[in-house]
Symmetry: C2
Subunit: 280 residues, 2 copies
Amino acid sequence: MKNLKVAYQGIAGAYSQQAIYGFFSQYNLKVDPVSRSSFRELFETISNEGVLGMVPIENSTAGSVVQCYDLFLDYDLEIIAEYKLDVNHCLLCLPEASLEDLTQVMSHPQALSQCSNFLDQHKLTALSVFDTAGSAKNLVETQDKNTGAIASMLAAKQYGLKILKSGFQNNNNNTTKFLVVKSKNKHYEFQSQFLNKDKCSVIFKTRDIPSALYKCLGGFATNQVNLNKIESRPVPGSKFDYLFFIDFEGNPKDTPVKLALEELSFFSEQVTLLGCYHKE
Amino acid sequence: MKNLKVAYQGIAGAYSQQAIYGFFSQYNLKVDPVSRSSFRELFETISNEGVLGMVPIENSTAGSVVQCYDLFLDYDLEIIAEYKLDVNHCLLCLPEASLEDLTQVMSHPQALSQCSNFLDQHKLTALSVFDTAGSAKNLVETQDKNTGAIASMLAAKQYGLKILKSGFQNNNNNTTKFLVVKSKNKHYEFQSQFLNKDKCSVIFKTRDIPSALYKCLGGFATNQVNLNKIESRPVPGSKFDYLFFIDFEGNPKDTPVKLALEELSFFSEQVTLLGCYHKE
């Protein structure tokens, strides 16, 4: 069987690439990760080239990846699975360097803030760069003994760097939730293994009526459909008009979910079902 | 009268500094902006040194500044006002450079993404750095003719850079909402001018009961208290346990708000009123 092409944002060694290996190996599927430099290019690749995508959507300490939420509005994609990756940040340096040599550490702003306790303690200056794996690659290119990088174990291996510390983030429960996404008009054989579709993600915009959000949520409460997440986001382009993103348990084929979605539609201007998939 | 000390995150030329001048000039108050390098240091300064703070909380295109939401849990601060700043990004370069010289542009990741259309169109590589004003400062230090920076007009003035483009973000309705924050046990004379306290911000954690969020919002709906914003955030340290941040209209002295908050408290484990202030 041909390897599955799965696109991700970042360069080799990114946590997204680690998530691709982690998710697909559960189904004994071989993958070819496809690197894309921005989230928009990632969504475009999934939409136009018909490959799968691994999209980070929320980190347990840093919150939602809002750019990805917004991109779901621009592309007609479907979520087919979610995957939670335990993020264990590693402090990397050149093979000949040691912790005492370091004066600054570069990484993605989120990784820097997640490891801020250690950096503060060792008086290391935080240097913000575009991504974690990029900081590892950059270190090899500059050969700077005084700079460290925070990235994945995969990145250490990829770029031949020394691991000074692993799992050294402030908080040990650091999990990133990824969504496995495909173009709506593609179907993959392996999807037949995804039987237990017990969670849905939906975007909606309420009608301009009093207590609109409360009314939109009423159908979920009265039909005992559990919400897992709710987030209001300014409508792109408007000043403070809001869209809502919710995750809830169940399948639109079940009567309670069907009724809740009908009620939601009645009180909304627009409802988009992003997908129904297995709750990890 | 002595100038008011107001702390902000960033260096001279930051949008937060621009917000400080914009907000306090409305009340003819003179200010001394105090720069802090991280959001945590900003909150610490407001809490321990008893100075005021200008805290960015949400951008209309990039979403919430989640680190700031989390910090409200760690420090006992009070919101006394909100201020909306129209963000007009400027493309800056060295005085002797021109657009044709540029191959890359550095800025904060949010500013880069907000100007991505122009960068894509001119095939300019986006280089992520810690803040917008920092990119302007960096440009002066490196004297690199081939690199541009995206920052405020204040930063152009501060660092003597040339403005190639202004207001060139993808979306012209780019607004950042700031909160004016103080230590709970400080009182400022000028606060007596803030008469119209018609908006509140609250953090709460629901009890572990069915339809908890719906029940928490019920008091707002039945007492006709309008919600302006809702966001669920993972409880720091827990994997996917949620806190909710809401903004609503009204004052706890008014009966409808009082009743809504009582009902919210009944269905919540914890409710923290962050402040009551004038809705901009």
